[in-house]
Structure formats: structure tokens, C-alpha cells
């Protein structure tokens, strides 16, 4: 079913306005700079607001992977992550008129996706359906001692193409507790600043830094042996990513 066709992006609801500068000035300058070649983000937004659904798809398509990664990292379940990603896109569509253009559209969409996933997670927790493993492994405040000192000076380019690396990344990420995972994804995958990450999650910047440190070290411990071993050489002894 085409749910967008039933909605009106000029009649937003549920999403707070983002930032102060009025969209008109930001969009007109962006439009001026992209008259040739692919349409600019601002042009696409204006087309959507005039009723062009296809322009919305064009706007969102480059963000789909990152939106899913965000919701998946928070929810750890593909089906729920897809639901949350789609709800986020719908909310973005229905609230597009509120988008003020002081950040990139993708940043705004990631914020909506993050909120959507967190709301879904809270609902699940309320229903006591969440994975209790997150609660059992929350002793992060002590120092984290790196467990592996494999020399990892660079990422072999051929390793990036390997399915094993992609799978290992997903597994390593899944081993992080929720509070480490969400900080890691917002800061290192979505490139929110530490201050923005803290604001999004409602925690202090110092907590973001503490969690980020542990998440990065755990990810490194999980991935480093494979980077030096199986993914670049074809050996399999490091294939199993160790839990953090």
C-alpha cells in the first residue's frame, strides 16, 4: 500500500521543529548552488511539498542504509528495525514542512529514526519483551582493558569487500550493550557530535565519552584479529568474533 499518497507533508504533526533559521533562506541558497546536475536536497524538498511523491523517494533513498543501521543497532531485530525505519520515513514525510534546513535532511531523518527506535524499545521493555542480556552486561563504568594487541595498522582494502567482515561487524555490534551500541552508532556511524549524541539520548556528554570509549575498544578487540588474519589472507581461524 502506498501510505505516502494518503498523507500531506504540509500538515506535519508529532515532530518538533528543528533549529531556528527559517528554511526559505537556506533552501534558496542551496537551490542556487545546484542548478545543474542532480537536484539539490532543497529542490527535492520543495518538490515534495508541492506534492511530488517521487521526489521524496529520491530524497530518502540515499539515507535508507543508515536509517536501518540506526534502528537495527537500537532494536537488534531486523523486523522491528524495518518497522521503525519505515515509521521514521513516514514521520519525516508528514512533518517535512517543519524541517527548517539548518541541518542536512539526513541528519534530521536519523534523529527521527533514533527516536522512533528508542520509543519502540521502551514500549517493548514496558511489555517485558526485551532481551535481558542488555541488563546483565551493564557494568561499563569500570576501566575496560583491551584484550588483544594484534597490530592493526591499516584496513586491507580487499578486506572491506569481504562478506566475513560485514558479518563480523554486525556480530560485534550486536555484542555491545544497548547503551554502548546506541552511542557508538550515533557518534561513529551517523557522525553526530558528542553534544548532539548526549542530547538525543538525554545523557551527559561525559557519559557519551565513557560509553564511546568502551564501545570502540570492544569493537576493536572483536575485529582486530580478523583484520590481520582471515579477512585479508583467507584463513579462517579468526572467523569467530569474540564477545566483548
Amino acid at each position: 500500500m502506498n501510505r505516502i499518497a494518503q498523507l500531506d507533508p504540509t500538515q506535519g504533526h508529532g515532530i518538533p521543529e528543528v533549529g531556528a533559521p527559517p528554511r526559505s533562506s537556506a533552501t534558496t541558497s542551496a537551490v542556487r548552488t545546484k542548478r545543474q546536475g542532480n537536484p539539490s536536497e532543497a529542490e527535492l524538498i520543495e518538490r515534495v511539498l508541492r506534492g511530488d511523491e517521487e521526489a521524496f523517494r529520491e530524497l530518502v533513498r540515499p539515507c535508507e542504509r543508515a536509517v536501518f543501521i540506526t534502528t537495527q543497532a537500537i532494536l537488534k531485530n531486523e523486523a522491528d528495525a524495518e518497522d521503525a525505519a519505515q515509521e521514521a520515513v513516514l514521520k519525516a514525510f508528514t512533518n517535512l514542512a517543519k524541517f527548517r534546513g539548518d541541518s542536512k535532511f539526513s541528519t534530521w531523518l536519523f534523529r527521527i529514526a533514533t527516536n522512533e527506535a528508542l520509543m519502540k524499545l521502551r514500549k517493548q521493555r514496558h511489555q517485558k519483551l526485551h532481551d535481558s542480556s542488555d541488563e546483565q552486561r551493564t557494568d561499563e563504568e569500570g576501566d575496560y582493558i583491551p584484550r588483544d594487541f594484534a597490530d592493526w595498522r591499516e584496513i586491507p582494502s580487499e578486506a572491506l569487500q569481504k562478506k566475513e567482515l560485514r558479518q563480523a561487524l554486525s556480530r560485534a555490534l550486536a555484542f555491545l550493550t544497548l547503551k554502548h551500541r546506541e552511542v557508538f552508532v550515533l557518534r561513529d556511524v551517523q557522525h553526530f557530535t558528542i553534544a548532539e549524541t548526549a542530547h538525543l539520548l538525554g545523557i551527559k556528554e561525559s557519559a557519551v565519552k565513557t560509553r564511546l570509549l568502551r564501545a570502540r575498544l570492544q569493537m576493536r578487540d572483536a575485529l582486530a584479529p580478523g583484520i590481520d588474519g582471515s579477512w585479508s589472507t583467507g584463513r579462517t581461524e579468526y572467523e569467530q568474533v569474540r564477545p566483548g
Binding site: 535508507e64 543501521i69 592493526w152 561487524l169 570509549l213 575498544l217
Partner: protein
Amino acid sequence: MEISCEEVWREVSNYLEGEISGELRARMEEHFKGCKHCTAVLDGTRNVVQLVGDATVFELPAGFSNRFLSET
């Protein structure tokens, strides 16, 4: 003043963020010159950040792209 490996590990993420004082940065860099383990930790942590910064390294479920916008 020398800095311990444990202190380096505690600050390695802030080091990558550029969120430490110049004095601490200098002490850490001096430490890295003589400590292979901490250099490995720094390099690996930096690589993790670079790796996941490229969203294409994450897998999407089969058919996700087709479903993502067709159902909205």
C-alpha cells in the same frame, strides 16, 4: 611525566576526538613511541572508527531496499 598504559587506554577515545589537553596529548604521543601495545590499541581503535564511518560496510536484510520505500 610518564603515563601508564592504563591511562592511555582510558583516554584513547578522547585522544581520537581531540578532546584532551595539549599536555596530555604530548604525553600520550611520547608513550606511543615506546609502547607497541598502546600503538596497536590506538591504530585499531582509529580503524574501527574509520571502518564504521562508511555505512556501506553494514549489511542490509535481503530485499530491504525494495520494501523500504514501496511500503511507505
